[in-house]
Symmetry: D2
Subunit: 364 residues, 4 copies
């Protein structure tokens, strides 16, 4: 049994989620082609690193991510640090010859992701667009690539997340342009953009629109996590990022004719709706398919369809992808090049909003 | 252009609905093979008969239903009188050689419906199970009869109607055993039974269970229609009929193997869900089909699918069925023989509840 | 009983639908405040006018719409002629002092609708945006106007209609820029725009995108209705209008805070989904409300909720609105001024597509 | 940090699922009040026990379940052996003073479960009705117990599982009356019965109906798991158990008045539909609630609602329940007494089918 030795940077909520996923990989998928070994965890807060190492079962801990990047006993560097720290850790790890698994977004600007994608050429990388790891998405892409739906003429995606819609939710790093890059655009729309790029292909041009409805928020005394609360007399701080973003997209493919359609809703993540124009008149309609062993990744969990995967199971499939890729010396997917394409699209939307015009992806 | 001369008995809510349906038949379906002519309307309340004749456009009115049954200028007798009056009117009309269109239930007991079905042999009759006239139902039966779903092994039907679930709704004829026969059983379950008999076929035996949760109700000062209300000091009267009924059914067909399934929900009356086991693994699921011109009766309304029929449109299709049958001298469907089968099933459920045992349909 | 004397222009599919609706108005709503009288029908094809008069029960017919506009025995001119004929008929009727009920779109350009709205000032007019007459829409607006949903911060609408997605559907007036103005934009998106303007209010600016996927179509030998078909050797003609259109919209309201949300799908036209942020945590969610007597217009059809209205019932509610408005000498809704706003929005989208930029409504 | 030392009997699919769940308990819920320790695994096949010990991380393994029951280093005996082995293992473990976590069904007959429930009195036990551990179910019971839905007047449950509907699926222990007790009744309906007993309470009497549609099946050469297949010339064996079962149930509560309703569908296991009659007229309907931190057990997984739990997450919540109960010396739920009630209901249904009559629970 081979081992893939993991060094994890960032001991917060997402770091824990990755650790849990690694632990489940051999339980769900078995020991082949390799088993992840939780070797080293780093966090800027050394106490948090130590506590996480104990709780999650890492062999060692550190207060400095550089130790992870340069440690010869590490095969795979996993980056769960804040977004603005992604480029530094990833470039150091790549230069040290490691495989790199980085949470989304790959970075806050296309300038950075371009550099990361260039350095990553030939290396094994993975960006954590975990929704793409839903067997329903894998199956959707299979259908599209096999031409089962004809050429794709229309993609329509929305991502509604209301945890910020309450004006009493305090200011957090998500509202700080320097730390987060953008608001709903980078955090939510990036998922939708990644879906479209995964399923439809390259974007030619975009035109965007955004709004910040809650223009200032209270500053919480303590942290700014999902459960943070600010008192009545708290100071206010101006929100720098967007609450809502919309954009028009023209794809590079210029297609004609449609013979099918797909609908997917993450809240019903075990269902894929499929429409085939090729069915006889009077019997056309959206078919609700429950994901099952025939769809990529599901079979390791349950032998029959309809049992139901959850969010965490997507993460297990994702972690398995990078572990297997490292063990087999093959590319993982979606890699840094894909992550760069998503960030290019985000930057194009940003520019189109600032300059109130259509922006070509080639400009970015 | 031929005319079918209609005599209508009962000028209440359902009488009006039938009249509206007749008026729409030529507008929706055109003048062939015949146009209904609203000739005569009767009601025990002559003033109501007169008012309805004026509002709905009947040529004549009467306070006595016998005039309708014996009038030589009437081709079709339409019975919208209270349930307990159905047998008397229907038998008189049949004996006078008329075609008869009777609202459901055909009568309150199988003893009566047996006699009615016997007398109706060779005559043109129709029972107003209007839900069966939904194009979705017609299509469902086509699929089943063509063997597209294999042998039917399971039928599961429910009819939830909550307008009686409020204890403040006053006592009405529906709660009076003599007038209504039964409560939810005859009023609601009869629809579900008729679906199963229409789609699956003959019933072999039943076992039932019922409950009256609201055991007494206030007596309203005026009428007892859907909008009646009783004052605070109103007298109470014991409810004689059931609020909820359930039953097990064994059908005469003893089938093996299933290759499909259907789901229909009246609240989404324009959708039929179809499941085919013959589809490839990984692509099986319920398909949501919107009814359209390919399904029986829809095409007269709209040239493309998904536009949407309503309850009243079912009634138009039903009225057209009897008008066309009279004009063409052919049987209409579902006829009195079918109506008798539904009442037999109801009586069997009743007896199984009273005697707390399985009851064979052959006993009724 | 008062009468409203109707003169109808255009004896095609929509003319028939209006006539059917008028006939149902007194049947459903009763004779107050007035009953429509089908007085005169005109069509460019006099034989079609005569046949329609007989089939639908008009007292007189004509081959010239001008007779309708100037006939002193007409109270209400109803325009179901092709789109490009709307301005001529409407202006003549308005100048003759008639009330006018015009099918949507009011006209093919904002230049025309501006003139029509100006002339219509003080007159009784109605534009046939029949989807707005669904009780679900009336209720949605009530909720919004009562502040039950807070300020509206986001409107997202789509209209998917696939009857043109088959490349074998032949060329029709819908593909001719001169006759139809635009394709999906004027025909489908106009409904969505009208929803947003009805529910959210005035548009500030738009930016659009469109595509014609099927760039040429066969020319059918006969007509070009929904059932037209072209033979194998038919000549091809270039499609001038759009198959798909999308646009971004910024509304004039600049609101903050949301406390509710609505979802409506025409294919499930009897359901309105309502979300209230004011409900307790752990019990928030979209509630599926079946329309019923509490919602505007439904009560005339059925005494209890969930029975189900169809497309034609919307048209009956719409016809009743104009008949009652004429009888009571009050404005109808939505009127020509509203119809002009919709066409302005369409023209703004058109210009934004042609000039590849954001367009202010004030420019139109 | 306290440990709860687990001895697991049965190294098959469900044994693996339990082991995975234990491993996730501290990762999801943290180390308090105790962490499960995988101490010993037993299987009749010693090689399978050894392989599972290595793959799943048990400290020791055995070919004899008796070692687990009597090992002083074991706090909790977890029974994932075949159904007919449950009583022997459970009784031995209880007599040795262990806490016991037994997969459903508790046993194949009420005679056995009665004895097990008696011996379990005062001990800590849990039966693996994992669907009851869905936060949606916990919340449903909270609502019902708080009287938010009034008295419960109607429970309607179905469990459709089609993996046996294919006649080519070979004979397995599920079709053998001695091994499985019954077919759909014990395997599927037991879940539905347990829902009703969990939510509604004690059953007074039942009347059942069943059918075996596929009366013989091929005997597979190898095993008979979910993926087994039999060749063309395989021998046939008669199916002894039911494919479909239905039953009527009368509950002991005799309630009046309903003010709410719930709908739950396992295939959409993250949604609970709630209907409150107390809402204003015109705004009543089923509300789709996505489970979230306010619902029992969800908060340990995700900080915001709508992220989505899967089947395995239910098992983690279940394993956590027994681990915490052992650590805190408190009863777990649902315990053996509840498991006995479910089996009593199953036996009552069985007898009612055999004797074609209503059967009181008191008879069992």
């Amino acid at each position: 049994m081979r081992e893939v030795r993991v060094g994890l940077v960032g001991a917060g909520w997402m770091g824990k989620a990755h650790a849990v996923a690694y632990k489940n990989v051999p339980l769900v998928f078995g020991p082949e082609p390799a088993v992840p070994k939780l070797e080293l965890i780093a966090d800027v807060d050394p106490e948090r690193a130590q506590a996480a190492a104990e709780a999650l079962g890492f062999a060692r801990w550190s207060g400095d991510w550089r130790e992870v990047a340069r440690d010869p006993a590490i095969d795979l560097v996993d980056i769960c640090a804040p977004n603005d720290a992604h480029p530094g850790v990833a470039l150091a790890a790549l230069e040290a010859g490691k495989a790199v698994y980085c949470e989304k977004p790959l970075a806050n600007s296309a300038a950075e992701t371009r550099r990361m994608a260039e350095v990553a050429e030939g290396a094994i990388t993975l960006v954590g667009f975990n929704y793409l790891k839903n067997p329903a998405q894998g199956y959707a892409r299979e259908l599209i690539r096999a031409g089962e739906l004809g050429e794709i003429t229309l993609f329509r995606g929305t991502f509604d997340q209301d945890f910020m819609s309450n004006p009493d939710v305090p200011f957090s790093w998500r509202h700080d342009k320097r730390l987060a890059g953008s608001g709903a655009l980078g955090d939510m729309a990036s998922h939708t953009l990644s879906f479209s790029q995964y399923l439809v292909g390259e974007i030619a041009e975009v035109c965007g629109l955004w709004e910040t409805f809650i223009r200032e928020r209270k500053v919480a005394a303590g942290g700014s996590g999902h459960t943070a609360q600010a008192g009545a007399g708290a100071a206010m701080r101006r929100v720098e990022n967007d609450d809502v973003v919309q954009c028009l997209i023209r794809y590079q493919s210029g297609a004609i004719g449609t013979i099918g359609a797909l609908v997917f809703t993450q809240e019903r993540m075990n269902e894929l709706l499929l429409y085939r124009h090729t069915e006889p008149p009077g019997e056309r309609g959206y078919k609700t398919i429950y994901i099952g062993p025939e769809h990529p990744g599901y079979g390791a969990f349950h032998p029959i369809p309809g049992i139901g995967l959850g969010y965490n199971d997507q993460k297990i499939i994702e972690a398995r992808e990078i572990v297997a890729a490292v063990a087999e010396g093959r590319p993982a997917e979606p890699d840094f090049a894909f992550g760069h394409e998503v960030t290019r699209a985000i930057d194009a939307v940003l520019r189109s909003i600032e300059e109130r015009r259509w922006v070509q992806l080639d400009e970015i």
